[in-house]
Amino acid sequence: MLAYIVRRMLYAIPILIGVNLLTFLLFFVVNTPDNMARMQLGMKHVTPEAIANWKRERGYDKPLLFNSAAPGVEKFSDTIFVEKSLALFAFEFGQADDGRDIAYDIKQRMLPSLALAVPVLLIGLLVNITFAMLVAVFRATYVDLWGVILCVILMSISSLFYIIGGQYLIGKVLQLVPISGYDGGIDAFKFVILPVIIGVIGGIGSGTRWYRTIFLEEIGKDYVRTAWAKGLTERKVLFKHVLKNAMIPILTGVVVVLPLLFMGSLVIESFFGIPGLGSYTIDAINSQDFAIVRAMVFLGSVLYIIGLILTDISYTLVDPRVRLA
């Protein structure tokens, strides 16, 4: 087990290097340092000297991957890629292109993201599993049919529509909660309740449907028939056997997203003005702040890999049949 985890950790390094290289190339093909400088320096009265200065100051005046002018090893090390990417492995994110300390901003913004994402996940999971069980209990009846149709209806509504509609109805017409914004501490509650509800409702359709499939599949298995044949009540069968076994695929889906909760939700956060990491990323894309984007990509990758390791570990914990090599 420990050896496995260590091995997976070592795998993570080439993945992170790959991720870094890929995003780096993508963003430098698109966005030359000149463009970045011009973006940051504003529109009026920008001189070539100012751009050259900016690049020099930020260390963007070097070659991307290979510095033919430098001696020896520095041919590779004295480049934008090495200088800007190696530090990430020590979680030193450096400064954003507008000069702010990225690590500080990430720390500041992580909590609001979690305040939104954790309730959405937990409540969503509870609601979805409950609904899915309900539909599974009433399988092959009109409840099942209409349940599925309801799911499809919910699924085919764009999340943007939920957000616009929710804000309009609950915030504007009923005036129950603030339309948007955020505050620290206990006050956060009144700000996140609407986005949480919207996040949960937005996920009900696909979640319930997916879990229903899993439950039905489990119900169709032989051991369930055996249990029934023994005369067990449906309650025992469903909760003791089906739910437990269905947890494997459910866990696959959940555990992997767990660490990514830190990254926040892109659209909901910017719509509700929640200063989390999701809106941070969107802003960085819009303002083409390469340093932040790179930091977020790196962070996302690290969290994702943690999620994968957790998933595999949870496989063994729930289902001893799966062996970790």
């Binding site: 966005n31 463009n35 011009r38 973006m39 940051q40 320096l41 504003g42 009026k44 009265h45 920008v46 001189t47 070539p48 000297e49 100012a50 200065n53 900016w54 100051e57 450096g94 400064q95 507008d98 000069g99 702010r100 300390d101 500080y104 500041q108 913004r109 309900l134 209990v137 804000q167 915030g171 504007k172 017409v173 009923l174 005036q175 129950l176 909660v177 603030p178 339309i179 948007s180 914004g181 206990i186 009144k190 029934w228 044949a229 005369g231 067990l232 009540t233 449906e234 309650r235 069968v237 469903l238 909760f239 910017s270 719509f271 003005g273 200063p275 809106s279 941070y280 303002s287 083409q288």
Partner: protein, 737 residues
């Protein structure tokens, strides 16, 4: 199982009750601000993106000026109420006078010809007794040494915000601080946007920049990236300190517009201690820079700086004091704008700016009373504003019932479409291209554009100068005769037939090249992506289809677009300009040949270069406002209209809405330090907020009821099913079938 469900249910209901009680405690549920602040003498506003620069040497955009305009005090300011805009002293004791000298350093009379003047000297006397806001950089110990000037790496690493330096100090503002700030403009690390422009005018600036640049590079080579250089060690020839309260600026030749620059934060005082404090190693990495924590002498200081959520300005306890103006325009007294005349500024204790990226939530919160003022977006326009039979705007009944007030002004800005004059199809000063441009100018119906996309909030521009700027002519004499006719008592756009005829004369009868028969295809270079842009782009294509010309949209991202503009590869593009100062020079220089964007990276985006226009521009820029200047301007405008390098577009009208508790609101397009004049009536605000924000609860009850009704029978059924062994049920099903 059911028991467990009920237990959960009970817990949930109890939780909800607690929450509801907590929320009910103070004021409306949907209040996005903290209740304590709400009752204070506090203004609530917003910012839509985090300001990039708060350093007065760098900052150059309106969203940044909203903050630093209140914090820093340049020598001059615009009078809050008087129109046309008038400069009055702010941190200066009086308006500086220009003194002219010839090449032999001999003084010249004030009316000397511009050619004879070698340089101009402005002597600025500053107001004595001004103090900086309390700030750690100014904290001194008993020995008079700065407390925080020798921080260790660890001390810096432990700090995250300015509040982590508890000791504060202040001192009087001196003339040397003004000079220090001017020197800062050339600091290679600051990239001041006006350094290029200023070094053309302030004598010795170029040499100074070179020496500072070299000193900085040496320092970087010695101490690494965060090297600190002491600007006072390098003399700047054109700027000198005379005494504690006087300094002089020497300007090459004549540049009457220079005094306008003195009203911008670029020229506000900055104590050298600030640079010393923030220049310590490690500070910049922790966001501890002048860009994030200003140090000014103005009425307000920035006390909370969390650009991820909110920024707060609070009264500066060391503010030197200023009085509300006691004179204004005629109707100002009637409108209550002089009610506070003679009172000590600032009138508001605190201003809270929250991050608000989307326009819709902002608008809704404004209607709920949580923001004190708002603009009017195109989509909320019909809700807020009614346009009368003569086109005059008034508020809708809904708004009036809420006590909201509306103020409109024509902005000193212009949105135009430019033709790239270097382009082989639309560019050039030849007859063919000129007629093509004129035809397109007629075809693009800006009246319709304004009515569809701006709800009529704008005036079709007749030339480069917007209304309110000297040189603009209104009425019949002011129309652009190449696009408009004067019919009855209004300007009317020429007919499409005229445009078609011009197009044919240009060599494209019916939109096709007369020689080859190839259809004419024009390109619009644009950066689009907003939800509204599709409609807008379709509209532009529709306009040119009227004269059988196909318009191709070349949509790119912002950087790519800038690149095209710089290289002169665009064909037709959309551009805008906001006045830096209320002088026609600030608009006409956008068409001045030597300012061409592709050639010299200037602001002449169309790359228009007409020698006659250039000659007149050089004459016009140094003239005082008066009939002689008007005549030159008229001549220039006529040349530009004929050449049609721009489709003149329109001058937007600003619509602002104010709540009844928001007093002394007067739009001022030039001043950026207007917060100090405003007054809030917090009692009225709290009252109205309560009145407007009563939560509507019955739908919640309804939803709960419906849920309960639908769940109960299912629950009963569920219970029965759960406890029946399956075998029995299967048998029942079999017998039933």
């Amino acid at each position: 199982m059911t028991n467990r469900i009920f237990r959960w249910g009970r817990a949930a209901v109890a939780g909800l009750l607690i929450i509801a009680l907590g929320a009910c405690g103070e004021g409306p549920w949907n209040n996005p601000h903290s209740a304590a602040e709400e009752r204070g003498n506090v203004l609530f506003s917003s910012f839509s993106e985090r300001p990039k620069h708060l350093d007065p040497a760098r900052s150059y955009s309106s969203n940044e000026y909203a903050f630093i305009g209140q914090i820093y005090e340049p020598p001059l300011q615009y009078h809050y109420l008087k129109r046309p805009y008038e400069l009055i002293p702010l941190s200066a004791a009086s308006l500086p006078e220009a003194r002219y000298y010839d090449a032999a350093d001999q003084p010249l009379p004030a009316d000397a010809a511009a050619e004879a003047v070698a340089y101009t000297v402005y002597e600025v006397h500053i107001r004595p007794g001004m103090h900086y806001q309390p700030h750690p950089a100014l904290a001194v110990n008993a020995a008079g040494e700065g407390v925080y000037f020798k921080l260790s790496r660890e001390q810096v690493a432990a700090a995250n915000t300015l509040a982590d330096f508890p000791e504060h100090g202040s001192r009087e503002v001196t003339a040397a601080d003004f000079v220090h700030q001017i020197k800062r403009l050339v600091h290679p690390k600051l990239h001041s946007p006006i350094v290029g422009l200023m070094s053309e005018y302030i004598t010795g600036m170029q040499a100074y920049q070179a020496s500072v640049q070299k000193a900085y590079e040496d320092a970087v080579a010695r101490d690494g990236k965060n090297a600190f250089i002491d600007l006072s060690r390098y003399p700047l020839e054109g700027v000198e300190v005379v005494d504690d309260y006087t300094y002089r600026i020497k300007i090459r030749g004549v540049y009457p517009q220079f005094v306008y620059w003195l009203s911008m934060p670029f020229f506000s005082p900055m104590p050298p201690e600030a640079d010393r404090f923030y220049g310590q190693p490690g500070m910049a990495e922790k966001n501890l820079t002048l860009d994030w924590y200003p140090l000014g002498s103005g009425p307000y200081m920035l006390t909370v700086n969390n650009p991820n959520r909110e920024m707060v300005l609070e009264k500066n306890p060391r503010f030197h004091g200023e009085l509300y103006p006691s004179e204004g325009e005629e109707q100002d007294a009637k409108n209550g704008l002089l009610a506070d005349a003679g009172k000590a500024l600032p009138l508001i204790d605190k201003a809270v700016y929250s991050l608000e990226k989307e326009s819709i939530p902002y608008w809704n919160k404004f209607l709920q009373g949580y923001y004190d003022a708002s603009g009017v977006s195109s989509d909320s326009f019909d809700q807020a504003v009614r346009v009368g039979a003569q086109g005059e705007a008034s508020l809708t009944d809904d708004m009036r019932k809420k006590g909201i007030a509306l103020k409109t002004t024509v902005a000193a800005s212009t949105f135009y479409m430019g033709f790239n004059m270097l382009d082989s199809v639309v560019g050039g000063l030849n007859e063919r291209a000129r007629k093509l441009r004129q035809a397109v100018s007629i075809a693009i119906d800006y009246e319709e554009y304004i009515s569809i996309f701006a709800n009529g909030r704008g005036l079709p521009a007749q030339g480069p100068l917007p209304p309110g700027i000297f040189g603009n002519v209104s009425g019949r004499a002011g129309i652009n005769p190449y696009v408009y006719d004067w019919v009855g008592d209004a300007a009317r756009r020429k007919s499409i037939d005229t445009a078609r005829r011009l197009l044919a004369e240009a060599g494209y009868p019916n939109g096709a090249d007369a020689q080859t028969g190839a259809p004419l295809l024009l390109n619009l270079d644009i950066t689009a992506g907003g939800p509204d842009d599709k409609a807008r782009l379709n509209w532009f294509r529709k306009q040119l289809q009227k004269i059988n010309v196909e318009l191709n949209i070349r949509n790119t991202d912002y950087n790519r677009f800038q690149d095209k503009m710089l290289k002169g590869n665009a064909q037709i593009f959309m551009w805008g300009w906001n006045a830096d100062y209320p002088d026609p020079e600030n608009f006409l220089f956008l068409l001045y040949g030597p300012n061409a964007k592709a050639k010299s990276q200037g602001e002449n985006a169309a790359n228009y270069d007409n020698p006659a226009f250039n000659r007149l521009f050089n004459r016009m820029k140094n003239m005082p406002n008066g009939p002689a200047r008007q005549a030159v301007i008229d001549e220039m405008v006529e040349i530009a209209r004929y050449d049609a390098p721009w489709i003149w577009g329109f001058n937007p009208k600003d619509f602002r809405l104010y709540h009844a508790w928001y007093k002394n609101a007067q739009p001022n397009l030039m001043a950026n330090n207007t917060l100090k004049y405003l007054r809030i009536d917090p009692v009225l605000r709290a009252e109205k907020q309560n009145e407007w924000n009563q939560p509507v609860l019955w739908p919640l009850g309804l939803v709960a009821g419906v849920l309960l009704l639908s769940v109960l029978p299912a629950l009963a059924l569920y219970r029965r099913r759960l406890h029946t062994p399956v075998k029995k049920r299967a048998a029942a099903a079999a017998s039933g079938a």
